[in-house]
């Protein structure tokens, strides 16, 4: 597992773009002791989708959980994670709480969701193959009836006479 730590400051965002490239997972961190900016959650989610692609799995992290947590920040993070169906962890680098668990869950999430995508793709391919088979059978039947029916009007006319 390769973990890339990015700069938070806006002036380094050009460098950061490259750090998102090819990322299979993004852990979006928020300080649990600070108030969230308006639309901050959506801002980061969109940024990850734009730079890393829509297939990049997302996880929300509330940091500094050992300190005095702002209940509204916690609530917003929990609500948002639920609404966009992504895992949410509250961690503390100081005490080590949930740190390993968060990274492990991120890796598991990527592997599980990738396997699920693969399964769905295969199911879709099977359906396409079924459609192909239906077309092939229809074509065979058409050929059979073509043989059974008189080939041209001339023959038909001759018989009539």
């Amino acid at each position: 597992m390769n973990v890339w730590d990015t700069a938070g400051q806006e002036k380094y965002q050009t460098i950061n773009k490259n750090l998102y490239l090819g990322a299979r997972g993004a852990m979006i961190c928020f300080d649990l002791t600070a108030k969230l900016e308006k639309d901050e959650l959506e801002f980061w989610r969109r940024k990850v989708a734009e730079y890393a692609g829509s297939k990049c799995r997302i996880m929300l992290i509330g940091t500094k959980s050992d300190s005095e947590v702002l209940p509204e920040t916690r609530e917003s993070l929990e609500k948002y994670a639920k609404s966009v169906d992504v895992p949410y962890f509250e961690t503390s680098a100081k005490t080590g709480i949930n740190v390993e668990e968060a990274f492990k869950t991120m890796a598991d999430e990527i592997i599980t969701k990738d396997a699920e995508d693969k399964r769905l793709k295969e199911a879709a391919m099977t359906e396409a193959e079924r459609e192909e088979e239906r077309k092939r059978i229809a074509e065979e039947r058409r050929e059979f009836y073509d043989i059974s029916l008189p080939k041209n009007d001339k023959v038909k006319n001759e018989k009539c006479v």
Binding site: M27, C29, F30, V99, A102
Partner: protein, 55 residues
Amino acid sequence: MEEDTPTIKLKITVVGGPGVGKSCLVGAYSALRTDRTKSFDQISKETQSTIGKFL
């Protein structure tokens, strides 16, 4: 005969605004995996303003 264990390479990026504790989180994870004796103060000292770091 031993079979090769399949491995998957995963790139995970840690993002967020300045001062939220991204580097400390990565530092703590690194310490938990490699050097459990490392204190938080040490991690905190090592993690200055980040431009972009690879673990």
